[in-house]
Symmetry: C2
Subunit: 608 residues, 2 copies
């Protein structure tokens, strides 16, 4: 997830681009860069890190021009560095491109271009695009871009300049957002409306596969087949600030709604039915894997909860013993670590201090380390032996939602990969899981479509002091994360228990009117869980249950039931946790709290 | 812990003995039995199980006599059975004995007696006593008992009859309680006052090593050296009911105060400085142990919390990987179990349904099972391959206290045993731990001596809704148990967190005035923990800290400090948990709750 912006008109181009990028920084801030066209030459300025670094480089004010494109990067392929920063040029510097998205077949395209004599200066997937455009260029930039996109697999929003056509910007998109802004004698492109809302209120939302060609006097749209189409523009009435959140009241709810895309991006190019799981940055052979006597998954907070599910997935599919621990405890308990240990660390930011310390100490003792992280080039990503990047895009809300869901994709993918390496499960079963995983983005979208019942329940409980979450098997690991989310967002004291453990003490807290939230997604445990629900109901609890849409029985012993689409039990957490995120969000909202920045918390915990 | 009673006088002997035993049943109910002397012959009637079984056997009313002794048993050596029931006779049936306590050197004494031609009919330690008395008998029962006790190591309260002296009962005690009751022309002996408080209010508390000789017309006391001494009797003003709890308001607090004895009993004959740990019912050789690639500790509730400490102890001392899980979750998660798996189950009652199911399923898959339990002959004890009995005595209060402390002794003993087998630690270090463990009963007694500060803190917080427990390393496992105890007894929603994990979400719940309870017993983590305490203090929390008496620094950043005697960090939980038990008790008391029987709970959970 990156931000792109483009401008063509009479204003100070650099100023417009920087202003746009500053409003897109929430989409990533690993590096920023701009290409500006002046009298037939293109100048590129890039800087690693926050936008202010780029601004410093530009502070002399000498860069001028009539048009330009800009980019703020959220690293996916290739670490944050000057070379990997956008814009990227073709080898001959005639084509300049900014790109948001992931090109899945870039390795293939790179091979082809290398054979044709092209050289590559970065580790990015993007760099294939300007060279491919250059290869296809025959005097018409639109045609060259159109030919190029025919070869691309994956997602992209593109802004393209060519010194051969110094008055045009060509833009297109597929599965990544792009809008075109219309001013008086000026045009804009941007990843979203708020980037340029201070300049114009009139926008065209580019359709998937559509092309826009911007010149000073004209704006034209073309279909995938190259046919010209008319597009009506829309007048935007949002304030610039609310629009930054894409119309959502908070980043947290925006990020909850971005989950279908985050899931899809994270599975893209990794999970392909009929093919083995492809984890390009994990280099563990069958022999190596056989040698590991144990796997530790170490993390903090929500990432630790993803680890709990990872344990179940890896033990069930690959039959390797896994132990999960919180980093701050693991470090100091003198754990048994040697060259037969495989460590998996999970950290959204890749900078979590305790997790990083565990990684370093474990490597010193001979362990190999896989990092699951959302931030390319983060300390944990750099120092790990193997990496799985969750392509969730930047997460701004302090309480993790979409990053958590993509961490689950990560642990399931690793479990499937290990099972394929070791042959511990039937191929047909693993294939079934993979196919089912690919349906999850759509199923999550379905859950997000109608939140009426969840909002209603949130309204009912938002004044309460205590809430309990119950679950058995994977439903317990869901309960643990669901409970933390409610705590973080609503400050309600919630706690999660394994259904069968409640009676060994904690049931003393259950009294008339207490709310108990539970999920039932593990079919072989339905009956046992039903007994546990009845235990709390008979003591006066009100129960909200989350279960499959074909499990209508639950209505008989619960006060409210939230249905989720049917899926395979082993991957059900990816669906079942979503209603609990929404619940936590709405409870926070109804309590009038600062949803995006809960008290006492910080997004990335870089202290111990 | 058993109950004994004796009577000599004109009342119906059987009625007095049964009445006494019924009031002693809280001390054990595995079996009961009486010996009655009538015209120079002794009749014994015994029955396994509850006292009513014995009563049924006696219902014909035909058994009569002038004096007798009775016993209700809490099995320690030998399963609950008719043969193992008391009273025990000498081979020639001339001597009959009831015994409460544990004879540590009974194996040695048995060998000696077997060589002399004595036969043994039971598995008990007790049976050596009547035979040894018989061996020493030269026409004076007092002398024979005195000679016998010179040979006994361990603890005992004894009531002895001989058909050669049909008008006398000889009684004595060492480290087990015994009182003598005085009526008009009648005398009683009993484990405690309430057993016969319906017959008399006048008592003599027998001193350690003292002997009482009861005849119809006379009651005499003798020292260990056989010198006659005068003893004043005391008038008891208690009600019979309050006295059953030994003067305590509740069984829970009584059991908390019984902990020094429970610890001592559980270590007795197992932990001896300079000798290897002796676990008679565990038959695991070094070779077998080396073969186990992993140990699971599986339990429920408080026993699970003992398991958490067991993991730390075993991993640190014996360097075998240990995983701990709650039984109701472990069963259904398809864990990796085979003949290379050693399972340790922990259950006070030995009947916990989920734990028993795990034991059976694991054995089917080839695992070997060690049971830690408080109940000899329980299902879990019978079905396990190896057993460690915690000799805590019967626990009546539903919230476990003394049983938990003895479970800790069990897991430490097993860890030390494994370390000795594998040679994973220096002998000197293991010796140091053993010696230090033997000081703990006295140190617990010291904590129990002055509870003023704890009562004060309990008073302060008893109206609160939420309390948090924090700890790092072993202090976290203490926090988990401490939190459960407060929940169970006071219904306050308390929760435990690892100190370093709080900031990953749950710190959102910390607000002005919230109470946070923490222990600091892990010296290398003091500094880290201090930071975590400051994090909550800076957000308005009131902090009660439990720490070593030499760690006065804690006063600088805590509102209240409870000091415990210094000890080795690795075994500190045995001390540090005691103030938290007291706190939970007093909070419950101040809230006016039913301390011994918290709502919704049962003592032994025999359903899933």
């Amino acid at each position: 997830m990156c931000g792109i912006v483009g401008y063509l008109g009479n204003r100070d181009v650099v100023e417009v681009l920087i202003s746009g990028l500053s409003r897109l920084e929430y989409r990533g801030y690993d590096s920023a860069g701009i290409s500006v066209m002046e009298n037939g030459t293109v100048s590129i300025v890039k800087a690693q890190g926050r936008l202010r670094n780029l601004e410093e480089k530009l502070s002399s004010g000498s860069l001028k021009g009539q048009m330009g494109i800009g980019h703020t990067r959220w690293a996916t392929h290739g670490a944050p560095s000057d070379e990997n920063s956008h814009p990227h040029n073709s080898n001959n510097n005639r084509i300049s491109v900014v790109h948001n998205g992931i090109i899945e077949n870039y390795m293939e395209l790179k091979d082809k271009l290398v054979k044709l004599g092209y050289e590559f200066l970065s580790d990015t997937d993007t760099e294939v695009i300007p060279n491919l455009i250059d290869f296809h260029y025959n005097g018409d930039l639109l045609e060259a871009v159109r030919e190029t996109t025919k070869e691309l697999k994956g997602s992209y929003a593109l802004g393209v300049l060519s010194i051969d056509e110094p008055d045009r910007i060509v833009a297109t998109r597929k599965d990544s957002p792009l809008v075109v802004g219309l001013g008086e004698g000026e045009y804009f492109i941007a990843s979203d409306v708020p980037a340029v809302l201070n300049y114009t209120k009139e926008f065209v939302y580019l359709n998937d596969g559509e092309f826009a060609v911007l010149t000073k006097d004209d704006l034209s749209f073309y279909t995938n087949e190259g046919e010209k189409v008319e597009r009506e523009s829309t007048e935007i009435t949002w304030s610039a600030e609310s629009a930054e959140k894409g119309g959502y009241a908070h980043f947290t709810i925006k990020e909850i709604y971005e989950q279908p895309k985050a899931l899809k991006d994270t599975m893209t190019s990794r999970i392909i039915p009929g093919e083995k799981i492809r984890l390009d940055d994990i280099h563990i052979s069958k022999d190596m894997l056989t040698n590991y006597s144990r796997i530790y998954i170490v993390a903090c907070g929500t990432a630790y909860h993803a680890g709990l599910i990872g344990k179940v997935a890896i033990e069930n599919l690959a039959r390797i013993p896994v132990e999960v621990d919180v980093a701050s405890e693991f470090r100091y308990r003198n754990p048994i670590i040697d060259h037969k240990t495989l460590l998996i660390t999970i950290s959204q930011s890749g900078e979590t201090a305790d997790t990083l310390a565990v990684l370093r100490e474990s490597q010193t003792k001979g362990a190999r380390v896989i990092a699951i992280t959302n931030v390319v080039g983060s300390s944990i990503a750099r120092e790990a032996d193997d990496v799985f990047y969750t392509w969730a895009g930047p997460e701004i809300g302090v309480a993790s939602t979409k990053a958590y869901l993509t961490m689950l994709v990560a642990v399931y993918s690793i479990a499937l990969h290990f099972a394929e390496l070791l042959g511990t499960e039937e191929t047909s079963y693993l294939e079934e899981i993979k196919k089912e995983m690919l349906t999850l983005p759509e199923k999550v979208a379905k859950i997000l479509k109608d939140t009426t019942k969840i909002e209603h329940f949130a309204d009912k409980i938002h004044g309460e002091k205590d809430v309990f979450y119950l679950g058995r098997g994977l439903d317990y690991q869901i309960a643990v994360e669901a409970s933390l989310k409610l705590k973080e967002l609503s400050y309600i004291h919630s706690e999660a228990y394994p259904g069968g453990e409640l009676k060994h003490g904690s049931i003393a807290l259950i009294e008339e009117g207490i709310s108990v939230i539970t999920s039932l997604t593990q079919r072989e445990l339905f009956e046992k869980m039903q007994s546990n629900i009845k235990e709390v109901v008979s003591r006066g609890a009100k129960v909200m249950a989350i279960t499959y849409e074909d499990n209508k029985d639950v209505e008989k012993y619960s006060d409210e039931v939230i249905y989720i689409p049917n899926t395979m039990d082993i991957i059900a957490p990816i669906l079942a946790v979503v209603p609990t995120q929404l619940l936590a969000y709405y409870v926070s909202l109804y309590k009038g709290l600062d949803v995006d920045k809960p008290r006492n918390l910080a997004k990335s915990v870089t202290v111990e």
